[in-house]
């Protein structure tokens, strides 16, 4: 009997530690895709998972990645949630000629040759989100975030967009990672009465903020989510259990929502529910990580090798079917063209999709083709302009 080739695939998510919920979704998405490939006779090889859990400790990523690429013959790593952890893995991938498949939304301004970017960059998250929100809710923003690069940079772009529309930033506050001391921020929001709040807090800070904002809305109907919503670029189904009823009515943008009405998504959900049970909510983190492994397997099959350069050449020249529709990777930037959607949190721990871009938006990680002035025309109701987000037919 001839042994079937088994290619080792590194899966490097923090499934313990402060943002374990997101890492768990990434890991499960990758493992689901891996199992599907291994069960499928069309693939003349197996994929063998090599799983690492840095536990959210930044200093452990480099070592974990190095062990995978050096000792376990891994050439492809799917993983990293935060930008800091991605920056730790990149030098290792460069050193060993490996490829990192990064599947989370991030703040852009990077195009590394050793990374495939499957998450949204700013022209696919904050920019379309504001295109939708500013004309409808007003241009006076209140910005909150966890005190690290994601919040700083997303809020910087938000400030630029708001200012271009003649709006004001009524406040910008940061909390240390993990802090739940949100009372002062809520108090200030109540006083300043912004049109909306952009929430770039992560984990427990975000849950505490939404819970307190709910109490504020109960006390003062002016802060009902339908009038003054809290917006997010990274809140997904993965965290709706933790957010609970406090999240209902607030808005988020993502490149995938479980409620996406397409045949591909219905078939996908049927398969993952068979695996995880009907109660499991599926997020963009799960799907992007799933897609990473599916794309990788397809490219290995076509190339007949897991050589990263051969894989890269295939991945950047055509599109791949996925639960979020056809996805293509831009050859110049290694970033995916993705379709942003806007969702409103519903009572059943799902997002009700309000609008979507209608087609994939080309990645623009350095915001080269972005024009904050274009939003001004939309906000002021200029002729010949319309918001890029259109209603999704359900």
């Amino acid at each position: 009997m001839t042994a079937v080739v088994a290619y080792p695939i590194g899966i490097l998510y923090s499934t313990s530690g402060p943002y374990a919920v997101l890492g768990k979704d990434g890991l499960d998405g990758a493992l689901t895709a891996l199992a599907e490939v291994n069960e499928d006779p069309r693939y003349p090889f197996r994929l063998r998972p090599e799983i690492g859990d840095p536990g959210g400790a930044i200093e452990r990523y480099e070592r974990c990645a190095d062990a995978m690429l050096r000792e376990q013959q891994v050439r492809h790593v799917v993983g990293a949630t935060t930008s800091w952890s991605r920056k730790e893995i990149i030098p290792v991938a460069e050193r060993h000629g490996g490829l990192l498949w990064y599947a989370c939304p991030y703040e852009g301004f990077e195009t590394n040759d050793r990374v495939i970017y499957l998450g949204a960059c700013p022209n696919q998250h904050i920019v379309p989100l504001f295109d939708f929100v500013l004309p409808r809710f007003g241009t006076d923003a209140y910005l909150v975030g966890s005190n690290y690069i994601w919040g700083w940079e997303t809020n910087r772009i938000a400030r630029e967009l708001v200012s271009a529309c003649g709006g004001r930033v009524l406040g910008e506050r940061y909390l240390p990672l993990g802090s739940t001391e949100v009372e002062r921020i809520i108090h200030e929001i109540r006083q300043k009465r912004p049109s909306f709040v952009l929430n770039n807090l992560i984990g427990p800070s975000s849950y505490a903020f939404l819970a307190n904002y709910r109490r504020l809305a109960d006390a003062d109907p002016a802060f009902d989510p339908l009038r003054r919503p809290v917006l997010s670029c990274n809140l997904t189904e993965a965290e709706l259990d933790l957010v609970g009823a406090a999240g209902v009515g607030h808005l988020a943008t993502a490149i995938y929502f479980e409620s996406l009405p397409s045949a591909e998504n219905a078939a996908f959900l049927e398969r993952v529910r068979a695996r995880h049970g009907a109660e499991r909510r599926i997020s963009a983190f799960y799907v992007a990580s799933y897609l990473a492994v599916r794309m990788l397997a397809e490219a290995i099959r076509e190339a007949g090798t897991d050589d990263p350069d051969a894989v890269l050449a295939i991945v950047t020249t055509r599109s791949f079917p996925s639960p979020m529709g056809e996805v293509a990777i831009d050859r110049r930037t290694n970033h995916a063209a993705l379709t942003p959607y806007l969702g409103r949190i519903a009572a059943d721990r799902r997002f009700e999709i309000l609008t979507g871009a209608g087609r994939p938006v080309a990645p623009d990680p350095y915001l080269v083709d972005y024009d904050p002035g274009a939003l001004r025309a939309v906000v002021s109701g200029g002729r010949g302009t319309k918001p890029p987000l259109q209603l999704v037919s359900t």
Partner: protein
Amino acid sequence: MNRLHLTPNFRGWTAIVLHRPHAAADAVLRQLERLGIAAHRVWSELGPEDAGADVVFFDADMGYDDQFPWPAGQAPMPLIALLGSEAPGRVQWALTQGADAHLLKPIGSGGVFSSLVIAERSYHARERLTREVEDLKGRLARRPQVARAMVMLMMSEQIDETAAFRRLREIAMASRRTIEDAAETLIENRNHPDVSRHRA
């Protein structure tokens, strides 16, 4: 809005990479393309037509003075040095050319964007300071004229020096000129009273 919050954008810029054919030059060109910058490689000397570029990346390893069509340190655009050797002599040579920022070889997928932001910012800051220093030097050189004009005013209008300076400043503001220019005109008018009548 504070300009510092704006996203730097180099779309539509032109760039020249002064480097022999090499992976480092290719890496810079690839990154420039992603930023919407039209760029090409040149070796070994820049021509006069290259003086219109918005930025020049130059090799500091094999570079030499005669490569540039302008005197060392007087480039009409931001310069970014591509350093392989960090030997002090080479770093010094790059500085003498007027490097506003640098990139260390080998060059991979990053670095060009931040070096552009830093180089553009420091080039313009330096240019603004140079203009300001020249302006101040010119005004300093005309201090004797200001003193003479004040003495003239003190004598002709029988006022003290504080009032004379105030008067001179009023004349300057009324004609939207510097105090030095106004002082020179006063002196000139006394020397050529015919002209002063026409100008009055």
